[in-house]
C-alpha cells in the first residue's frame, strides 16, 4: 500500500493531544449522596485528585484514537497499486454514440462507461494529467489537460449520450495530437470507453497508438431500422413507396411489428420475423395527398431504442420543368420526354438566367445568358468550370462509377465516342466516366448549382443507340431536379448538419426540436443558407426562417451503430488490432472506504458517549 499524500501523517500529532485531554481533569457536577457504596462499579473510570490524572483504560479514548487514526489514514490517501502502468497523461475518450444508450448494462452502457471513467479520475496520482474527449458525431473536448480532479469529474459528468453514430477517427486524431510530442518515459495513454460499434479503420495502422480499450456492453438484443427512403411508386405514380430496411443484430430469431405512420396516423402495420443478422427490406405503399412525414416504428422492446424509429419528409412530386437548348437533337429530346413527370421546353438559345426552369440542358450551345439554375451541359467548351479543356479523337471509355446516382443501371460497355472534350476533374465535382487521360463526364455541385458536364457530343457516339442512354437521362432529370435535392436534404443522419437554402435573406430563424423545445438561430443576412448542427437526437424538427417553413427529419440509420454487439477487439488496419483490456485503474484509492469506516466509528463513539452521560 502506498500513499498519495504522505504529509497527512503529520495529523497523527493530534493523537497525543487527545490523550492529554484525557489526562486533564474533567469538570464535574458536585452531588452529595448518602453513600458512595452503591457507586463502586462506576468509580473506576475517572478519578482525579490533581489537574492531571492517571490514564486509565477508557473505551471512549480508545474509540477516539481509532477515529483519529482512520482520519489520518484517509488524509494520506492510501492506495493499492495495480498492474496498470503509471502514466503522466491519459486521454479519456468517452464514446457517446447511440449504441452507448443500450440498456444491456444497468442503467445504460454510457452510464457504466462514465462510472468507470470517474474511477480512473479518482485513481489519478498527483501531477498526472488527464484530458476528456467526448466522441459522437463530433469530437468535443470536455476538459483540456489538467490534474484537477473536480474539473475532470465535472467534465465526465457533463457528457451525455446522443443518437448519432460514432466518428472515432477525429477523436483518435485529436488524442494522437495531444500525446504526440510527449516524452516516452511519461507513458501517455489513450483510454477508449466504448462498445466498439463503429466501422473499422486503417487510418492508424502504422501509428501504434497506445490505446487501452475498455469494452462496455454485454448483449446484442436489438432490431434496428437501418435504411429509409420514400419515392414515387414506379408502378403507380399516384402512390408513394416507402423503402425501409429492418435488421436483426441479435443471435436469436426475433419478431417485431413494424408500423408505418403518416403525420402520426397509423397507416400500415406488419409482422416481421428476422433470423440472426438478417436484414429485411420492407416496402410500404401509401397514398399521399399533402406534404408530410412518414415514420417507421419497430415495436419490439429491445436494448437500443434510438434505432426503433426513423422518419422521413415526403414532398408531393411536381412536374420537372426542363429547358433543352439545342440546335436539334431528337435522341436527347425523346430521351428527356421519356423521363417521368417532365415538362420539356425546347429552344435554340437562352436569353435569361433560366430560373423559371428546374434545370437547363445545353446541347452543344453556349447560351447568350448563362443559366443560374442546375445545368446539364453536353459538349460545351466555354464553361469556366475547368482549368483546361482539351479535345481528343475517339477517346476510349475505360471506367465509370456505377455507384453514382447518375449511373444507376447505366453501363458504357459497348459505347464508342468519335470525338470528345476532355477535362481534368475539378474540385467541385467528381468524374463519373473516365477516359485514359481525363474525365468524360463530371458531376458535382458548384455553389448552389448542380452540374452535369458531358464532354462529348452524344450524336457523335453510339450512346443514344444504347438502352443506357434514356436511363441516364432519367437519372439526370431526377438528380438535377431541385426538389430531389431538397428532399434529400430533409433527412439527415443524427449528428450531421442540416442545410437549408434561403431564397431571400433572413436575420433569424427558429428550430423546434423533437421534444418541442425551441432554438433561436442568428443568421447572417448575406448568407444564402442556414446550417443547423444540433441534430443529435432523432425525430422530426421544424425550421421557421422568415416566411419559409419546413420540416426535416433526423434519424440514426447506421448499420454499424445498430449492431450493438460489443466488440472484443478493434481493428485499425490489417495487422493492428486492439483487444479489450482487463486492466483496472492504476491506483485503487481507499480513502473513501476509510472515511466511511471513520464515520461509523464516530457515530458509535457518539452513541457510546451519550449512553453513558444522557
Amino acid at each position: 500500500m502506498n500513499f498519495l499524500a504522505p504529509l497527512g501523517f503529520l495529523f497523527a500529532l493530534t493523537i497525543p493531544v487527545v490523550v492529554v485531554f484525557y489526562l486533564l481533569k474533567r469538570k464535574r457536577v458536585v452531588k452529595l449522596v448518602s453513600s458512595t457504596l452503591l457507586w463502586q462499579k462506576f468509580l473506576s473510570e475517572t478519578q482525579a485528585s490533581a489537574p492531571f490524572q492517571k490514564l486509565r483504560k477508557n473505551w471512549l479514548l480508545i474509540l477516539q484514537i481509532i477515529l483519529l487514526i482512520l482520519a489520518v489514514l484517509a488524509i494520506t490517501r492510501p492506495y493499492f497499486p495495480t498492474k496498470a502502468r503509471s502514466s503522466e497523461l491519459r486521454v479519456l475518450i468517452l464514446d457517446a454514440s447511440a449504441s452507448m444508450q443500450s440498456t444491456d448494462e444497468s442503467p445504460s452502457r454510457f452510464d457504466k462507461a462514465r462510472k468507470e471513467a470517474l474511477s480512473w479520475v479518482d485513481s489519478l496520482r498527483e501531477g498526472d494529467k488527464m484530458v476528456v474527449l467526448q466522441a459522437a458525431a463530433n469530437t468535443e473536448v470536455k476538459q483540456s489537460e489538467t490534474s484537477d480532479k473536480s474539473a475532470l469529474r465535472r467534465a465526465i459528468e457533463s457528457c451525455t449520450a446522443m443518437d448519432s453514430p460514432t466518428r472515432l477517427i477525429p477523436a483518435l486524431k485529436m488524442a494522437e495530437s495531444l500525446i504526440r510530442d510527449r516524452d516516452k518515459g511519461s507513458n501517455p495513454e489513450i483510454h477508449l470507453f466504448s462498445d466498439g460499434a463503429f466501422p473499422d479503420s486503417s487510418e492508424f495502422e502504422n501509428k501504434a497508438l497506445p490505446i487501452i480499450y475498455h469494452k462496455v456492453g454485454q448483449g446484442a438484443n436489438n432490431i434496428g431500422i437501418t435504411a429509409l427512403d420514400v419515392r414515387a411508386n414506379p408502378e403507380d405514380a399516384s402512390q408513394r413507396a416507402i423503402y425501409a430496411s429492418v435488421a436483426n443484430f441479435s443471435t436469436n430469431n426475433l419478431e417485431t411489428e413494424v408500423e408505418l405512420k403518416f403525420e402520426n396516423h397509423l397507416i400500415d402495420t406488419r409482422i416481421v420475423k428476422l433470423k440472426p443478422n438478417e436484414i429485411s427490406p420492407q416496402v410500404f405503399l401509401a397514398t399521399q395527398t399533402n406534404d408530410g412525414v412518414f415514420t417507421i416504428h419497430s415495436t419490439l422492446d429491445d436494448d437500443l431504442a434510438a434505432d426503433n424509429d426513423a422518419s422521413i419528409v415526403s414532398l408531393l412530386p411536381h412536374p420537372v420543368k426542363v429547358l433543352l437548348v439545342t440546335r436539334g437533337n431528337s435522341f436527347l429530346e425523346r430521351a428527356l420526354r421519356a423521363a417521368p413527370n417532365v415538362d420539356l421546353t425546347v429552344d435554340s438559345d437562352l436569353q435569361n438566367d433560366g430560373l423559371a426552369y428546374d434545370f437547363v440542358t445545353l446541347d452543344g450551345v453556349t447560351p447568350t445568358v448563362w443559366p443560374k439554375c442546375n445545368v446539364m451541359a453536353i459538349h460545351v467548351y466555354n464553361t469556366n468550370w475547368f482549368d483546361k479543356v482539351t479535345a481528343e479523337e475517339a477517346p476510349p471509355i475505360v471506367d465509370w462509377v456505377p455507384t453514382h446516382p447518375l449511373l444507376r443501371y447505366v453501363g458504357f460497355d459497348n459505347v464508342r465516342v468519335a470525338k470528345s472534350l476532355l477535362a481534368k476533374t475539378p474540385s467541385w465535382g467528381v468524374a463519373i466516366v473516365y477516359s485514359t487521360q481525363a474525365s468524360l463526364i463530371v458531376a458535382g455541385d458548384l455553389g448552389r448549382q448542380r452540374i452535369v458536364w458531358i464532354g462529348f457530343d452524344t450524336v457523335e457516339s453510339e450512346w443514344p443507340l444504347r438502352i443506357s442512354y434514356p436511363i441516364f437521362m432519367a437519372n439526370a432529370v431526377e438528380w438535377l431536379d431541385p426538389a430531389t435535392v431538397r428532399n434529400s436534404q430533409l433527412l439527415v443522419h443524427a449528428g450531421d448538419p442540416f442545410r437549408y437554402g434561403l431564397s431571400q435573406p433572413v436575420a433569424s430563424a427558429e428550430v423546434t426540436m423533437p421534444d418541442n423545445s425551441t432554438r433561436k438561430l442568428n443568421v447572417d443576412t448575406n448568407s444564402n443558407e442556414i446550417v443547423f448542427g444540433d441534430t443529435f437526437h432523432h425525430g422530426t424538427y421544424h425550421l421557421k426562417a422568415g416566411t419559409n417553413q419546413t420540416d426535416f427529419c433526423v434519424a440514426l440509420l447506421d448499420e454499424a451503430e445498430s449492431n450493438i454487439k460489443p466488440r472484443d477487439e478493434l481493428k485499425f488496419g490489417k495487422y493492428n488490432q486492439i483487444s479489450a483490456t482487463t486492466l483496472h485503474r492504476a491506483n485503487m484509492e481507499l480513502w473513501r472506504t476509510i472515511a466511511a469506516v471513520a464515520l461509523a466509528v464516530l457515530m458509535f463513539e457518539w452513541w457510546y458517549y451519550h449512553r453513558r452521560t444522557v
Binding site: 474533567r26 469538570k27 464535574r28 457536577v29 458536585v30 452531588k31 452529595l32 449522596v33 448518602s34 453513600s35 458512595t36 457504596l37 452503591l38 457507586w39 463502586q40 462499579k41 462506576f42 468509580l43 473510570e45 475517572t46 478519578q47 482525579a48 485528585s49 451519550h610 449512553r611 453513558r612 452521560t613 444522557v614
Partner: protein, 298 residues
C-alpha cells in the same frame, strides 16, 4: 394520644398485635411472656416434693389425699420480653424524599408501641452517639408500659440524624449491654463501608431474635441525576467521580439488587428476618402486611 409519627388509626390497629417471640423470655422482670422460670401464674408446670419452708398454699391437697404424700404444684413464671430497637441515625439516613430516618422512626415507633402494649420492655438504641441528645436517648433506653408510649413517641420524634455511624460497633456494643436477649429490630440502610456482618452476628450470637429492615431512598434505587458527577459521601466526605447516564441505570439497579440480595441471603442463613423498603413505601403495608406475614407479630 397525639403523636407526630403514627396516626391514631394505625395505633388502634397496632394495639391488636403482640410481638411473637420464638424463644422463651429470659428477663428477670415479671411480665406477660412465658418463661422457663417457675413462679406465679395460671399455667401449671410441674410437681415437686414438699420441703420445709415451702408455701402451703401451693400444696396439692388432692394428691395428698390419694398418696398421703406432700407435693408442691409449680406454675410457670411469666416474664417480660426485652425488645431492642437499633435505629441508624447517621447522616446517610437524612436522604430521600421522604427521609429514610423519618421512615425508620415510624417503624421504631410502631414496633415499640406493639411491645409496650404487650408489657414488654423497649430499648431504642440510636447510633452513632450524639451528646446533644443524651437526655432523650437515655429516656429511650428503657421504656415499659403502655402509659409510657406518649413520652416514648415524643422522645423518638425529637431524635436527629447526623454523623458517621459504625454499624458493626453499635450492634456489637448493644448486644453486650443487654442483660437478657430478646427481640432485636435493626433499622438501617446498611450502607456502611465496613459492612454489617459482624454486628448482626453479634446479635445472633447473644441470642437475640433479630429482625432487620433495610430502608433505601427512591433516588438510591433509581438515580435521576446524570452526567459527569463528583459524588460526595455524606458521612465520610470522600469524593468519587463517575460518569453516569440513563443507559447505565439498569446496570446500577442490578448492582443495588445484588447488594440487597447479599444482605438478604446473609440474614436468611442466620435466621434473621429481613425486610427491604423504600422510604416512600406505605407504612401500613409494611407494618400490617409484611411484618405480620413474616410473623414478627400477630
Amino acid at each position: 394520644m397525639a403523636n407526630p409519627l403514627l396516626t391514631p388509626e394505625l395505633l388502634r390497629r397496632l394495639e391488636q398485635f403482640q410481638l411473637l417471640a420464638a424463644r422463651r423470655a429470659k428477663s428477670s422482670a415479671r411480665g406477660e411472656r412465658r418463661s422457663r422460670a417457675r413462679g406465679q401464674s395460671v399455667e401449671f408446670a410441674d410437681y415437686r416434693n414438699y420441703v420445709a419452708g415451702d408455701d402451703f398454699r401451693y400444696l396439692d391437697w388432692n394428691l395428698y389425699g390419694r398418696l398421703e404424700r406432700l407435693f408442691l404444684k409449680l406454675y410457670e413464671e411469666e416474664r417480660e420480653l426485652p425488645v431492642r430497637i437499633f435505629l441508624d441515625s447517621s447522616e446517610s439516613m437524612t436522604f430521600g424524599e421522604p427521609r429514610k430516618f423519618d421512615f425508620a422512626r415510624q417503624i421504631a415507633a410502631a414496633v415499640g408501641y406493639v411491645a409496650l402494649c404487650g408489657f414488654d420492655r423497649v430499648s431504642v438504641i440510636p447510633f452513632p452517639d450524639n451528646p446533644d441528645e443524651a437526655a432523650m436517648r437515655g429516656a429511650l433506653r428503657t421504656v415499659r408500659g403502655r402509659k409510657s408510649a406518649l413520652r416514648f413517641f415524643q422522645n423518638l420524634s425529637q431524635l436527629t440524624a447526623k454523623g458517621s455511624a459504625n454499624f458493626n460497633e453499635a450492634l456489637r456494643r448493644g448486644a453486650l449491654e443487654a442483660r437478657q436477649a430478646g427481640v432485636a429490630v435493626v433499622l438501617s440502610d446498611f450502607l456502611d463501608p465496613a459492612g454489617y456482618e459482624q454486628g448482626l452476628t453479634s446479635l445472633v450470637a447473644r441470642g437475640f431474635q433479630v429482625n432487620t429492615v433495610q430502608i433505601l431512598a427512591p433516588d438510591e434505587l433509581a438515580p435521576t441525576t446524570y452526567g459527569d458527577l463528583r459524588l460526595v459521601d455524606s458521612e465520610t466526605g470522600g469524593l468519587q467521580e463517575v460518569t453516569f447516564g440513563r443507559y447505565r441505570l439498569a446496570s446500577y439497579q442490578q448492582m443495588v439488587q445484588n447488594f440487597c440480595q447479599r444482605l438478604r441471603e446473609y440474614c436468611s442463613a442466620r435466621g434473621i428476618n429481613f425486610f427491604m423498603a423504600s422510604s416512600n413505601t406505605s407504612l401500613e403495608y409494611l407494618l400490617l402486611k409484611q411484618l405480620r406475614t413474616a410473623e414478627v407479630w400477630g
